[in-house]
């Protein structure tokens, strides 16, 4: 038996950099370094663990939809241990929103062939946390998302989803779409050997025509949502800072009382 895993990974602007918007109100990618979304490292890690713990012949493919530089994200995932990579890149994709992105990802996943899709819990830039659910809807397969623990065995995926009100145990048959949280287990660092090996691993490039997607189905012009304005939040006005000389707690209480919290 063989098991084909596709891991979706996003290339994002570094959250610790000075992120801002370009003139067309899309994310400015020129002034901030980009990287593999840290939360997608957990997805790569779980895919690799599933592969390592399986008796089947497992192939792990990493998939990204993004600009030229998004190759960096793929290379990082390959150096962690993924087998091959697919980069969907097309100028017409600029400004695509969540609905459009899920279309491109779904078509690419189908073209690649899959038994299991593993995604991150959310990207670190858009942070919507909806793409895995959208992918499951588009592919017509079970959605087994936000897992802090995941297991694949005998054509089934099981896992634990820690919700607001309860912790749930989930089960579904493959093929399925899974997303994993940052509680699922630390992601490995690429080893030197891994980094060297990654250079020889195949990276395929697909554009919209490879996926039979019309240019009027994606992109900023055809998005399902429109950003009307983006403004930098004014810096918070500097607050009062006191040094504790034995009365710090009381001074803080005085402030809270003045603001009617006590």
């Amino acid at each position: 038996m063989s098991l084909r895993i596709v891991v979706t990974v996003k290339y994002v602007p570094d959250a610790t950099g000075d992120r801002h918007f370009a003139d067309d109100l899309t994310v400015d990618r020129d002034d901030v370094d980009g990287l593999l979304s840290e939360l997608d490292e957990y997805a790569v890690e779980q895919a690799l663990q599933i592969a390592e713990n399986s008796d089947d012949d497992v192939e792990v493919t990493v998939l990204t939809v993004g600009p030229e530089d998004a190759k960096d994200a793929l290379r990082k995932a390959l150096s962690m241990g993924a087998d091959k990579a697919i980069h969907v890149e097309d100028d017409d994709l600029h400004g695509t929103d969540a609905i459009g992105t899920s279309l491109v990802l779904a078509k690419a996943v189908e073209k690649a062939g899959y038994d299991l899709v593993v995604s991150g819990m959310a990207s670190t830039d858009g942070t919507m946390g909806v793409v895995p659910a959208l992918l499951a809807e588009r592919l017509g397969v079970p959605q087994v998302t936000l897992l802090s623990e995941v297991n694949v065995e005998d054509g089934k995926v099981t896992g634990r989803r820690d919700g607001d009100a309860a912790s749930e145990q989930l089960e579904a048959s493959l093929p399925a779409v899974v997303s994993v949280t940052d509680q699922s287990g630390e992601a490995r660092y690429p080893s030197f050997k891994g980094i060297m090996a990654a250079k020889k691993k195949p990276v395929e490039s697909w554009d919209l025509s490879d996926l039979d997607i019309d240019e009027d189905e994606v992109g900023l012009e055809n998005a399902y949502t429109t950003v009307e304005s983006a403004s930098e939040r004014p810096a918070r006005t500097a607050g009062t800072i006191v040094k504790d000389e034995g009365e710090g707690g009381k001074q803080l209480a005085e402030f809270l009382a003045s603001q009617k919290f006590i």
Binding site: D164, A166, R233, G249
Partner: protein, 320 residues
């Protein structure tokens, strides 16, 4: 006036506060029609009517608890068909966002997540989002289909606005996908007796500076003196000092209370992402250079083991 669908988040009939906030926002763009599903759906009606629901569509079925997300999407789709609303509003829980996204896709609509405000506009509702760890504010709208918008808790006031609340039972045919992901077990969270983190008016958080699980009793005592919820940084959670459900930040809960008190927390960007929209921010940290002080309305540079117990005592004294 057009109708607006509001998805009801409830636990066995007890309506959660973010749903009442949605009703406030829904009334700005139309007439709220609530959709309550699952066990206890019928018990939500009085509360929803009191807060502005002109109609409540209810449906009870075991599927809502036994399978993940999709049965609820099927029901909302049926409600959409019955009502032809001007917008669909859902609260921004992890599940709420997934339900909303799949619904939007089925309706051929766009989706906006994590709105912090909503107003009527010429071309449909305009949502305000707070993005890039709250360093930017954007205004967006859905440009295709019925707008589907999820709204963060604490984004609007709960307002009494008595309305008819006419009950109608919704007829739902579950799709083939509905039973795809089975919930085989459920362990409810133990109640702490404290307010829900995302709904609380005051949140008191502890970070690595708290230095041990046992010391969180200091943070809890302060929280209890104010009737607050307790939060924690990821460093404190990763160390095993406090449960992950209480984590505030990018990969934890996003909170927007009236007052946020950060104790022994440095203020990393990922933590700020979850608390920066709080109305008033206060911090106790022994390092005067900690980035959290850039956000505060009032800060104390000092050892939390001195400052926090003194603060708790003073609050108790003042409250009598």
């Amino acid at each position: 006036m057009a109708e607006v669908l509001v998805y009801v988040d409830h636990v066995d009939g007890a309506v959660r506060k973010p749903t009442l906030e949605l009703l406030t926002l829904a009334r700005r763009v139309g007439e709220p029609v609530a959709v309550a599903l699952g066990n206890g759906a019928g018990d939500t009606v009085a509360t929803l009517a009191e807060h502005g629901a002109i109609k409540v569509l209810t449906h009870e079925a075991a599927e809502y608890a036994d399978y993940l997300v999709v049965p609820k999407v099927d029901a909302l789709q049926a409600a959409h068909q019955a009502v032809s609303p001007a917008a669909v509003l859902v609260s921004s829980s992890a599940e709420g966002k997934e339900i909303a996204a799949r619904l939007a896709l089925r309706l051929g609509s766009g989706i906006i997540t994590d709105a912090v405000d909503l107003e009527a506009g010429d071309e449909g509702p305009v949502a305000t989002q707070s993005v890039f760890a709250a360093s930017y504010t954007t205004k967006s709208r859905v440009s295709k289909g019925t707008p589907v918008i999820t709204v963060k808790p604490n984004s609007a006031a709960v307002e009494a606005a008595p309305a008819a609340g006419a009950v109608e039972s919704l007829s739902v045919t579950f799709s083939e996908q509905a039973t795809g992901t089975k919930v085989t077990g459920r362990t409810p969270r133990e109640s702490t007796g404290r307010p829900e983190l995302t709904e609380a008016a005051i949140v008191v958080s502890g970070g690595r500076g708290v230095n041990g699980a046992e010391n969180f009793s200091i943070i809890e005592a302060l929280a209890d003196s104010l009737g607050a919820a307790v939060g924690a940084s990821r460093a404190a959670v990763d160390a095993g000092w406090y449960p992950h459900t209480n984590q505030v930040g990018q990969t934890g809960k996003s909170v927007s209370p009236q007052l946020y008190i950060a104790n022994g927390i440095s203020g990393a960007i990922q933590h700020r992402a979850g608390m920066q929209t709080s109305k008033t921010i206060v911090a106790v940290n022994k390092d005067a250079e900690a980035p959290i002080f850039e956000l505060v309305d009032f800060g104390v540079v000092g050892d939390l083991f001195d400052v926090v117990p003194q603060l708790t005592e003073e609050i108790k004294t003042r409250k009598g």
